[in-house]
């Protein structure tokens, strides 16, 4: 255990050195559009920047920051489920998912398959878009802005620039601001979250360790994020520039975090949630909602096809209800009563650091 910790720290220190130049350019981008970090004032900025036709007409200003970050506001208190087929997407919608993530393989299968994991097949994503009325998200590789251009053309509602896929660029993330479609990105702590927001991410999720069914990394990252936020919120103003330097984040955004006492965008939890109790744990630790990947469609693995669908549907429903009533233990007991065998999972401690996904992108 002790040696794992040493490795982790060593790796983190190295990574943050690499990130310095990237953070500097990110800070520059923010200072030219400082209002983009302020969801509430952004509306005013959009209204006064001249692009708005004041004709009370349709489509005056599309894809503003308010509109992009606003969709994430609508997802709050909800569960976003990984789905690999149209049938899964329908089960998820029926269970009350607030969005689905269209994938070719759930993360635990990506792990098992090895090889290079890329954006899902366009046809699969389009079929899922047609099958449900809830928003559809899809993943692109870190830094692969052409995959993102393709998904925007397909018309997905949100893009996840995700460490679960094999990174296309080991230094740069996608410059997300020019896209009309909003992005969600993973983070392990406050600095990483603010670097992604500076690049234009309109929603954040803590990474956890995808495809494991082990909640320990999700907890670690959520705690790290909030402890960073609390530290900023209680700092004196003159301490913020140095804090921004240490975080590798723009001062504007650090000031915004202090003002709000939270991230300026919605923050979900991901990576390891397998049961209603896991989902409620992450909500109590400060998530606005949860992503569940393998946890639903890898449950009931030992059952025959029909029983498995029933089982997965029960798990999906129970996790949705647990997120609604995350603070009510009696209700959590009730929703947990109906579920069967969760995904088997794999403890993160048994996975070599080089095979862990959360370290991708920083």
């Amino acid at each position: 255990m002790a040696s794992t910790r040493t490795n982790r720290t060593g790796r983190g220190a190295q990574a943050s050195t690499n990130a310095r130049p990237a953070a500097r350019t990110a800070a520059k981008a923010v200072s030219t559009k400082a209002t983009s970090a302020r969801p509430r004032s952004a509306t005013r900025a959009a209204a006064s920047n001249g692009t708005a036709a004041h004709g009370h007409g349709v489509g005056n200003t599309a894809a503003t920051w308010t509109v992009k970050a606003g969709l994430a506001q609508m997802l709050k208190g909800g569960v976003i489920m990984d789905v690999v087929t149209v049938e899964h997407a329908r089960i998820a919608e029926e269970a009350g998912a607030c969005a689905v993530m269209a994938l070719e393989r759930v993360p635990s299968d990506i792990r098992a398959a090895g090889g290079v994991a890329r954006m899902s097949h366009v046809k699969l994503i389009e079929d899922i878009c047609r099958a449900v009325t809830i928003p559809v998200m899809a993943k692109v590789r870190i830094g692969h802005f052409v995959e993102a251009q393709i998904l925007e053309a397909v018309g997905v509602d949100y893009i996840d620039e995700s460490e679960v896929l094999t990174p296309a660029d080991d230094v740069h993330h996608i410059e997300k601001t020019p896209f009309k479609v909003p992005f969600v990105c993973g983070c392990r702590d406050l600095g990483e979250a603010l670097r992604r927001i500076a690049e234009g991410a309109a929603m954040i999720r803590t990474k956890g360790e995808a495809g494991t069914g082990d909640i320990v990394e999700a907890v670690r990252h959520m705690r790290a994020l909030w402890s960073g936020i609390r530290r900023v919120a209680s700092a004196r103003d003159e301490e913020l520039p140095n804090m921004a330097k240490e975080l590798g984040a723009s001062l504007t955004l650090v000031q915004e975090v202090k003002r709000l006492g939270r991230l300026p965008v919605v923050n979900f939890s991901a990576g390891g949630i397998a049961t209603p109790a896991d989902a409620a744990l992450m909500m109590q630790l400060g998530a606005d909602g949860v992503f569940v990947g393998s946890g639903i469609f890898k449950s009931g693995a030992d059952l025959d096809a029909r029983a498995r669908v029933k089982e997965q549907s029960a798990m999906a429903t129970a996790i949705v209800r647990a997120v609604t009533h995350f603070n009510d233990p009696a209700m959590l007991a009730e929703v947990s009563r109906g579920i069967g065998e969760p995904m088997r999972g794999q403890s993160v401690a048994s996975i070599p650091l080089s095979e862990q996904l959360a370290g991708r992108g920083n």
Partner: protein
């Protein structure tokens, strides 16, 4: 049950109302007015059924409790929603088309003149927004887009808007809704001591 209730609560507090979250029947009983927030209408509807809130909600709304649905909330209130066999609450005589403008890349902002809101147009944020395709005889249109599509209306004490006033700094519409709640309380109780209380519906 799900959605941007925090933003509604912030707006209500800005205009001086006492705002709480509503997730259970007991919490519903304690409020004088209700906002059903933006979110995913399918999700909110499923949760209302799962936690036995449909019937109590219908009862309160039919008894005259001021109720305002924004975006997904408007879908929850509508009597007719193409694509849904059973509209969730079905308490308002309107037909609502879901995702009427297209997908997220088609979401937009526009300036709107709204009945009952003085001091110039409001900036309205439309996110995968619905449109009120038809309004029944008893429904008053509060705002429409330049092409005539209805995006805000009222019927008795029920309001429906396609857009999200809670995502801007402009709380004028929330102020007007609080005034409606106060007026309704005044009629019902005939005593000015009643406290205006309300809630951003449900999570």
């Amino acid at each position: 049950m799900q959605g941007d209730f925090r933003e509604h609560i912030d707006c209500l507090r800005t205009v001086g109302a006492d705002a709480v979250e509503v997730r259970t029947e007991a919490e519903l009983d304690a409020v004088d007015g209700l906002i059903i927030p933006g979110g995913e209408s399918t999700t909110i509807a499923r949760l209302l059924i799962a936690f036995d809130l449909m019937e109590p909600l219908r009862r309160r709304i039919r008894a005259g409790m001021p109720t305002w649905g924004t975006c997904a909330g408007a879908i929850i209130l509508a009597r007719r929603v193409p694509g849904l066999d059973r509209p969730p609450l079905g308490v308002m005589d309107i037909t609502v088309d879901r995702n009427a403008f297209g997908r997220q890349v088609d979401s937009f902002e526009a300036d709107l003149d709204i009945e009952g809101v003085t001091g110039g147009p409001m900036r309205a944020v439309f996110i995968r927004a619905p449109v009120i395709r038809e309004a029944g005889a008893g429904v008053t249109v509060m705002a429409a887009l330049a092409d005539g599509r209805i995006v805000a209306c009222r019927e008795g004490n029920i309001w429906a808007t396609s857009f999200h006033p809670e995502l801007t700094d402009d709380a004028r519409l929330h102020g007007a809704f609080v005034a409606l709640v106060q007026a309704t309380l005044g009629e019902a109780v005939a005593a000015p001591s009643a406290r205006p209380r309300r809630s951003a519906a449900a999570r």
